[in-house]
């Protein structure tokens, strides 16, 4: 049992280290994908240049009426105090 537990702990440690390293490496990153196998030319990432239509963002094109933001009443907005 202790052997399995130690294997689990080790696996978690390695996974944490790997994901930490990945986070460090991609700190400045955009959405580039690491490709490391083979010498073939690299195509664009699939979710940038696919053929499927991109769905609209849900908060822009819904059918329901947009509720007013709670801090906007009907009163005129005063100037900022500073």
């Amino acid at each position: 049992m202790s052997r399995i537990s130690s294997a689990i702990v080790l696996a978690m440690l390695v996974l944490t280290g790997a994901m930490g390293l990945k986070t460090v490496v991609t700190t400045h990153g955009g959405s580039s994908v690491l490709v490391a196998n083979g010498t073939a030319p690299v195509p664009p990432t699939p979710w940038k240049n696919g053929t499927a239509p991109v769905p609209p963002t849900p908060w822009k094109n819904g059918t329901a009426p947009v509720p007013p933001t709670p801090w906007n009443g009907t009163a005129p907005v005063p100037p900022t105090p500073w």
Partner: protein, 232 residues
């Protein structure tokens, strides 16, 4: 579109990968290093498949794009198994095979679950996101595992030259690609650097493994350093 230089690199890379398997068969360690040969064989097949899809549909086609990224995930999983085989070779004398298998499989399952947790809120192309995420995460797990293996080699005072050569070359390969990825993210304008490094690393690995298989016997050991005679 790739030019003659890129085509040449692609062809030479595939030929070098095939040469690893041939050299391994000629020199005898094919079964012992089966997972390494499995990775190289799969890589040759994937290169051939990529070439077929590429010539039929082109670089920017969705067919080539999906084939490329899905096959890349398969290759990364094969590379993980290659690493698993190396661990088995290094730790074979310790009798820890069962624990090692449990550890590696737990790590693989943990990586797939973690990848799912990252992408499960993707609304579009979730499977593709998932496949690419697994490939990326498994790659970084492989990088860490290679350095852990190198530390174990030092700790165990491993002296088999072939094993050392293979593990070190794998470490260089992983490191070049990780550094290149960081460079790509930090300096996207340096395209001439980050577009050149992955093919260079892709050619380095089979060359290093061919060298390891052809130059060294399986029992070849590093000569211990000479003791210095200190006059009293």
């Amino acid at each position: 579109m790739p030019g003659p230089f890129e085509y040449t690199i692609w062809l030479v890379g595939a030929l070098l990968e095939a040469s690893v398997v041939v050299c391994s068969l000629l020199r005898g360690p094919f079964r012992r290093y089966f997972t390494l040969n499995l990775y190289m064989s799969t890589s040759v097949l994937v290169s051939a498949g990529r070439y077929l899809v590429f010539t039929r549909h082109g670089l920017a086609s969705s067919e080539y794009t999906y084939f490329y990224y899905y096959s890349d995930a398969i290759l990364t999983i094969c590379l993980y198994f290659a690493l698993m085989g190396l661990y088995a070779i290094v730790f074979e004398e310790l009798g820890a095979a069962m624990r090692l298998r449990v550890f590696m499989m737990l790590l693989l399952i943990g990586t797939t679950l973690f990848s799912y947790a990252v992408v499960h809120q993707s609304e579009s192309r979730m499977v593709t996101h998932y496949i690419v995420e697994i490939s990326q995460n498994l790659y970084f797990v492989g990088l860490i595992l290679t350095y852990v293996l190198w530390g174990a080699l030092l700790k165990l005072r491993e002296s088999r030259v072939r094993v050392i050569q293979i593990v070190l070359s794998l470490g260089v390969y992983f490191s070049i690609n990780a550094a290149n990825y960081a460079l790509h993210n930090a300096y996207p304008s340096l395209r001439f650097v980050w577009a050149f490094l992955p093919p260079a690393a892709g050619m380095f690995l089979p060359i290093a493994w061919i060298y390891a298989f052809m130059k060294f016997d399986d029992e070849a050991r590093l000569a211990p350093a000479r003791l210095a005679a200190v006059p009293r």
